[in-house]
Symmetry: C2
Subunit: 214 residues, 2 copies
């Protein structure tokens, strides 16, 4: 049996959204639409300041190096494989840099049949057509002793959570309200039992890690 | 001008509900309906264990005395007046003990005209028929140098928040999912700007206090 944990790690607005209204392929070139870009920047503000993030995306060499930075680095280092939904991949295919930010095998849940797509820097996308469990098994094989991150979006996270397959998750609560958008926990089953593993706060964000009880 | 701050302090499920589905006057005597009572107990679990809460409600003399307890006590002590909605009052009128848990003047937003209702232990309910701002002004007069707590429900909290009248608020994130219920931040304006003032976690709950920026 795999020792890898299945987890997700997301920034959430205080009203529970992980992406603002208007942040979709249709409006990708229209950042003024519903101010989605500025809302997104507020949500991710704590991330953009961190040295690890800036180096990883090659957008800079300097940044914050405190606990927030260590958390990003640890999350990256523990991740041996990633899982995404089709919509997130479609957006990323268009906007991620050539060296996509995963640097792991990525299993994309989709009905679309496609050969694996290898990117420079260690990211290879595999297209999985036979469901959640199959993607998880493939990710377990790829991850070795490291963990598997559900990278998003919200819908894929919900499906794994309601299927009882998630081991733990971290929410970074950013002090921003969206009003509308992609809800993290829409329709989460009340049979989902969790307990707090760890919580910490900086000025920018509150981090809480939960363990799912089986 | 009043020095009193207007605040609220609520326990929230991880999916953003401050009361479970089915917790209403119709089902008050049917705790099995949607398991609302057991869901409510999970949400408030951290509170029920605290010495201050148990003594205040006269349901026991012993309890936890750590930081969670101090937070409850400080919140109680800073509160010079309270504001509630009509629905919360209607439920409480039926179920609060004779010595209602406020021990302050309470301003009830309602269309119902009624004389002040004094209870033993320092709680007097005043029925306000002319809106949010009027209730706030009356509460400021009553609170002196202490603060004013919006006791609930969610709808009243939202109205004060969207009107730009709230100074700060504390959310206690309990590790439970409701799926349905009374949402704390439904329809919160994205013009609401907040920053983290303080955050702390125990094993049972994560406390985060936010300041609203004006």
């Amino acid at each position: 049996m795999s020792r890898s944990k299945l987890f997700f790690d997301v920034s959430s607005s205080l009203d529970g959204f992980i992406a603002p209204e208007g942040m979709d392929l249709t409006h990708a070139n229209d950042p003024e639409f519903k101010q989605w870009m500025s809302q997104w920047m507020k949500l991710q503000n704590w991330v953009f300041q961190q040295e690890f993030f800036r180096k990883n995306l090659k957008i800079g060499d300097v940044g914050e190096t405190g606990r927030d930075n260590r958390m990003l680095e640890e999350t990256f280092n523990r991740t041996g494989a990633s899982i995404t939904g089709k919509r997130m991949f479609d957006g990323g295919e268009r906007f991620w840099p050539e060296e996509a930010p995963f640097h792991t095998p990525v299993f994309v849940l989709t009905h679309h049949v496609r050969k694996p797509w290898e990117r420079p820097g260690g990211t290879t996308f595999y297209f999985v057509n036979d469901g959640l469990a199959s993607a998880l098994v493939q990710a377990q094989k790829a991850a070795g002793n490291r963990d598997i991150r559900i990278a998003g979006g919200a819908n894929v996270i919900q499906q794994y959570l309601n299927a009882g397959l998630v081991d733990e998750f971290t929410i970074h609560y950013s002090p921003v309200f969206f009003g509308q958008g992609a809800q993290l926990f829409s329709g989460t089953s009340k049979d989902t039992h969790v307990k707090i593993k760890e919580a910490a706060a900086s000025k920018e964000v509150t981090h809480v890690t939960f363990e799912v009880e089986r």
